[in-house]
Symmetry: C2
Subunit: 290 residues, 2 copies
């Protein structure tokens, strides 16, 4: 993690894992989430904190989810269903359910398909935030399988040379078993940083690094600048750059990788591109290789 | 393409496509490649030039292939075979065959599996250079499918903070049909640039850009430097940086993406990691989504 985004000891409040789980579960239940789903959603958030991914843990994410439930933007009791299916694929309508609830169910389907025919790919449309997306990929590890996840997010990243946001931060994750070694787990936004890092920078009052955002003309900002304020939707008002930052450093590659996530997570799921103005939802891709 | 790597008009020699195909095919035949395979290999190289990917076209690649045939490093008449298979997957031993010959055959198998069960994934071990890897991904377009390819290459890229090369340039490609629009085609090394770009820079006598290579301590070189000489194996003697170049600009993401290609192309195929010292071969991953 970038050093300045590390929460300092003075600012930290240490909480026992079991206490944290209890409180988070109670909050989800209060929002109308079922017992089983609250258990899973809690596990995703607390696992993120335990892995040091504070940007996607309880303190940085739960507030936004609660607000989403309150505003009826996120459905606490989604009637998700499989719309189409083949031996190695499925497509799910998530009924505005939280990705940290429906994602694990989709991954279970992918794992079952992989067991039967070798590979399982499940796409999810009309969903909401998937949390730390490697959580779902890591579910494959218990079955000695490789897991892969992608999430097509609402647009706040500019294409190379672009002056306006056209892509989500669109993370990709892969988890592979390591036999007697620790598993390999990768999880990263294909933008220079995820939007949650900007929220964290704002909370911590630290500046952004050069090469993270574009100015109003689309030119990469190569100075340190203040973290942007949050918009009414809780998303930072900033134009992030793709991984690579500038054309000489390969920002067209980050651009292309974001497009791949939009194609496999957004188009293939039927949910559409992240650039659709005002598209409030997230669409996902989960896969397992036996 | 980076402006300085564009071949100038004065240096260019324009050749009619049909003449080029004839000469290239004759050269492959002379090297002991079969009629059918020479036809395909020629199409891969000429298609690269026609698409403007000169780094992987005739002038920059064929010489190395001929040398490989002469030194018996590449098998002109490989007896490739499917070692393992499931309804959605297959694993091929390429018998030291050129990737631009065996790759299309593997992709045909992936497309057939995708037609039957939804997704087809084929891994290839004991192979050689895959050429412009989007060629194989684009084969899916004729079937209105999405194609994806990856190639685990011999090591010449340093991990983030690393002083020695541990990864190949490990490109990833995706081709998706565009209905009435042009298809989407992405193809890029997960290193800051592919090794072939260094060969091209050397040929053109131009300097490398800041952020492309690491010095002997692993520190990113942020000045313009001369293109490195080629080693006895025809590979540039340089330590490339991952996409992202520096830690603040996300080089750990390029590092992780190279590892993903090594896992899906190298480990899953049974061919092993790119870092295996002296591993002369390339291993690949091709997939089709119906």
């Amino acid at each position: 993690m970038v050093e300045r985004l590390r929460v300092t000891e003075e600012e930290s409040m240490r909480v026992a894992e079991s206490d944290l789980r209890e409180v988070v579960r109670a909050i989800f239940l209060k929002c109308g989430v079922s017992d089983e789903d609250a258990e899973r959603a809690t596990d995703v958030l607390v696992t993120s904190d335990l892995r040091g991914v504070e940007s996607h843990g309880v303190s940085n994410s739960l507030r936004g989810y609660v607000q989403g439930f309150k505003e009826d933007e996120i459905n606490p009791a989604p009637q998700w269903k499989v719309l189409r299916e083949s031996p190695s694929t499925a497509n799910i309508d998530s009924d505005r359910g939280l990705g940290i609830v429906v994602g694990p169910k989709a991954m279970e389907i992918a794992i079952e398909k992989a067991r039967k025919v070798g590979v399982g790919v499940v796409t999810i449309r009309n969903s909401r935030h998937l949390g730390m997306i490697s959580y779902h990929a890591m579910m494959a590890l218990e079955h000695d399988m490789i897991g892969m996840t992608m999430s097509s997010c609402p647009a706040n990243v500019n294409p190379t040379f672009g002056a306006e946001a056209r892509f989500g931060t669109n993370p990709m994750a892969l988890a592979a078993p390591g036999d007697r070694e620790a598993p390999f787990v990768f999880d990263a936004a294909m933008s220079i940083v995820p939007a949650n890092k900007l929220i964290l920078a704002r909370r911590l009052g630290v500046k952004l690094l050069p090469g993270w955002t574009a100015d109003e003309n689309g030119t990469p900002v190569m100075d340190e600048v203040d973290a942007p304020p949050l918009g009414p939707d809780g998303i930072p008002v900033a134009n992030l750059l793709p991984l690579g930052s500038t054309i000489d450093l390969g920002s067209h590659k980050g651009y292309g990788l974001m497009a791949i996530v939009d194609i496999l997570g957004g188009i293939l799921s039927g949910g559409g591109y992240g650039l659709i103005p005002g598209r409030p939802n997230f669409n996902h891709y989960v896969a397992a290789y036996d």
